[in-house]
C-alpha cells in the first residue's frame, strides 16, 4: 500500500539515524577544528578505536546467541599482563607468548560457557563472576605490579631485576604501519587487524550456516534445539569466540603500550556494550550485527578525538558522549516505537 512523505521520512531516519549522527559529527568537527579533516587523523581515530571495536565484536557474538559477556574487559587485562609478563619476566619468545595469551582467552571462554551451559548460571552472572576472577588474576601475575623493562621480578625471593624485554616484532602489531610510502605514513597495523576481524566476523555471521544457526539459537533456543541444532555447542562457540577476540584485543593493546599496565582494558565494557547495541539501530537491523557494532565503536572514537581537539575538559567530553548517544538512539528507536505501536 502507498505511504505518504512522513512515513517515508520516518523510515529513512529509522534506517539511517545513527549514520546521520556520525556524518553530522564529522562535518561539525571538520569546520570547528583545524587538524580533524586529514587522512592520517582518520587513521589515528581508527587506530584508537580498533581495540574497542575488537572487544565490541566479541560482545556482539555473545549477544547474537542471546547471551551477554561482561567478562571481556577482564580478558583484555589478563592477556595484557600475562603476555608482557611472559616476555619480560620469563623470557618467553614473543610468538609463544602470543599463543599463550590466545589459549588463555579460549580457556576463559570455555569457563564462561561451562558455567552457562552446564551449571545453567545466567549469562550476566556467570561472566560477572569470571570478570571478578580475571580482575584479580591479572594482578596476581605480578603481585599487583605493572610489567616494564627492568622491573623487579615479583616472584624472585631476592627481588632481582627482570631481564627480559618486549621485542620490536611484537610491538609492530600495535605501533607499526603497513604500506608506508613516501607521501603516506601507512596504515596502522591495529587498523588492519580490526578490519580483518570485522570482515571475517561479518562473513561468518551473515554468510555461513554456523552464523545462521547462532542467530537461530539466539532467536529461540528451545525451537532451535527441537530443530536439531546443537544449541549448547553454539553457545559455547559464541563465548569462546567472544573471549578470543578480547584476547586478541589484549594482544594489540599490549603491543601498543609496549608494557603491561595495571587495569588496562577495565573501561572497555561499557563502551563495548554501547557500541554493540547502537549497532542494533544501524540500518534498522534490530539485531546484533557486525557493521553496526563497528560503526558504534568508531562513533565513540570520533567523538573523543574531535572533542579533545576542541580542547574541551575531559568531563565535558563524557557529557557530550552521553548526549550524542541518546540523540542518535532516540532518533532510531523513537520511530521504530511508533511503527511497532
Amino acid at each position: 500500500m502507498k505511504r505518504g512523505f512522513p512515513e517515508r521520512l520516518a523510515d529513512f531516519l529509522l534506517r539511517y539515524g545513527v549514520i546521520l549522527a556520525v556524518v553530522f559529527l564529522v562535518v561539525f568537527f571538520k569546520y570547528r577544528t583545524t587538524a580533524f579533516w586529514d587522512l592520517d587523523n582518520f587513521l589515528d581515530i581508527l587506530r584508537a578505536s580498533s581495540i574497542l571495536t575488537i572487544v565490541a565484536l566479541g560482545v556482539t557474538f555473545s549477544v547474537v546467541v542471546d547471551g551477554f559477556d561482561v567478562s571481556v574487559g577482564g580478558v583484555v587485562g589478563l592477556v595484557v599482563m600475562l603476555v608482557t609478563a611472559l616476555m619480560v619476566i620469563w623470557h618467553v619468545p614473543w610468538g609463544f607468548a602470543v599463543l599463550t595469551g590466545l589459549v588463555a582467552g579460549a580457556l576463559v571462554g570455555l569457563l564462561n560457557s561451562l558455567l552457562i551451559t552446564r551449571l545453567r548460571i545466567p549469562d550476566l552472572l556467570a561472566t560477572l563472576g569470571t570478570l571478578y576472577l580475571l580482575q584479580g588474576t591479572q594482578l596476581l601475575i605480578t603481585k599487583g605490579d605493572a610489567v616494564y623493562k627492568g622491573m623487579t621480578n615479583p616472584w624472585s625471593p631476592d627481588r632481582a631485576q627482570a631481564t627480559g624485554a618486549i621485542p620490536p616484532d611484537f610491538l609492530y602489531f600495535g605501533q607499526g604501519y603497513a604500506w608506508a610510502s613516501a607521501g603516506f605514513r601507512g596504515v596502522p597495523v591495529p587498523v588492519l587487524v580490526m578490519a580483518v576481524v570485522a570482515v571475517l566476523a561479518w562473513l561468518f555471521l551473515d554468510y555461513t550456516r554456523f552464523g545462521r544457526a547462532m542467530y537461530a539459537v539466539g532467536g529461540n533456543p528451545e525451537a532451535a534445539r527441537l530443530a536439531g541444532i546443537p544449541v549448547d555447542r553454539y553457545r559455547t562457540a559464541a563465548y569462546v569466540i567472544s573471549a578470543l577476540l578480547s584476547a586478541l584485543a589484549g594482544l594489540v593493546l599490549a603491543a601498543r603500550l609496549g608494557s603491561g599496565t595495571v587495569g588496562a582494558g577495565r573501561d572497555y565494557l561499557l563502551d563495548a556494550v554501547a557500541a554493540t547495541f547502537v549497532g542494533f539501530a544501524v540500518l534498522a537491523a534490530r539485531r546484533p550485527n557486525v557493521w553496526g557494532t563497528v560503526l558504534g565503536a568508531v562513533f565513540v572514537g570520533i567523538l573523543l578525538n574531535g572533542l579533545t581537539m576542541m580542547n574541551l575538559p575531559f568531563y565535558v567530553q563524557d557529557i557530550v558522549k552521553g548526549l550524542v548517544l541518546i540523540a542518535a538512539l532516540g532518533l532510531s528507536y523513537a520511530i521504530r516505537g511508533r511503527e511497532g505501536g
Partner: protein, 320 residues
Amino acid sequence: PEKFKDPKKIRIALVREVGEGSFFERYLAGAQSMADELGVTLLEATARGDMAKMITAMENFTRQRVDAIIVDHGRPDPLMPKIQEALARGIKVVTFDLVVDDDRVPEIEQDDLLIGYMISKKLAIDFAGRANVIYVNVGGFAPLDKRDKMWQVVKWRFPGLKEVAKIGAVTGSTAADTQTRMEAAMKEHPEANAVLAMWDEFAKGAVRAIVQAKKNAQFRVYSVDITNEDIQMMTQPESPWVATVGTDPYSVGRLAVRAAVAKVVGERVPKYLLVEPQLVTRSFLLKNHIQSMDDLVRALPALGESPLVWPDWMKAAVKK
C-alpha cells in the same frame, strides 16, 4: 626573544594520566595560571588512567604540531616511542614525574624516592624505631612504586618497624574503599599503632576509619602529598594525621609551563628540575594557624613558587 614575539601563537599541550582529585585540579590550575600570565595557549587532554588514551592523546597533539607537550605522569615504555615521534617532529617535550632517558627532555620531578624516604624515616624517628605499622599502598603505579622502595629500605634500616598488615586498593572511590578495609585491619591488629599511607587518598580513608572508630589516641598516620583537603583533615581537633610529605602541585604546574615555553623559545633548560618535597607536620600547621595551601606556602616558602626557569624576559612578560 624571536619566538616570543607573539605568545598567543605558542601552543602548549598538557597530557595528563589522571585529572580527578584536588592534587591534579590544583596542578592544572597552576599550569593554566602560568599560561595566562605568559599569554600562551594551553591545550589539555586527560587519559583517566588509561595508558592507551594517553598515547592516543600524544599522537593527536603530535600531528597537530603543537609547540610543546607536557607529559604528566604515565609509564615510560608506552610513552617513550611517542615522545621520540614528537621530538622527531621538532616538538619540545617536558615531563613531570616520568623518567625518560633523553637529554632533550627536561624532567620535572617531585622526587618520589626522596618523598618515600622522608616520610618513612619520619615515622621511624617518631616511634624511636619500633612500631606496628599498617601499610597502605598498591603496586603498579610509578610514584607509588618508588615510595614503596624507600619504605623497604627504611624497614631494613630499622628492624623494629613491623608491617602488621598491608591494605589498599585503587578503585573508583579509593578513599571510601580504604576506609572499609582499614576498619577491618584495625580490629584484626589491635597492636597496630601507626599508619603509613603512600598516597593522600589512602590517608583520608585510614584517618576517617580511625576517627570514626574513636581510636585517635591509638594511631598516628603518616602520608604523602599535601592539598587543602589534607590540611583540613590534619588540623581537625585531635586528628591522628601527624605528618605528610609533598610538593605544591600549583607551583609544579607553573614550573612545567615555564619549562615548556623556555624550550620552545630556545632557552636551554637543565635536564633535571627537582622540586624539593617538604615535610609538613600537624604541629607546624597548628602553630601557624594554617588553613589552606596558600597559607602553607606563605609559612613555608620552600613549598611555593619554584625559583627554577625564570629567564628575565619571562619575568618581564609576566610583569606586563
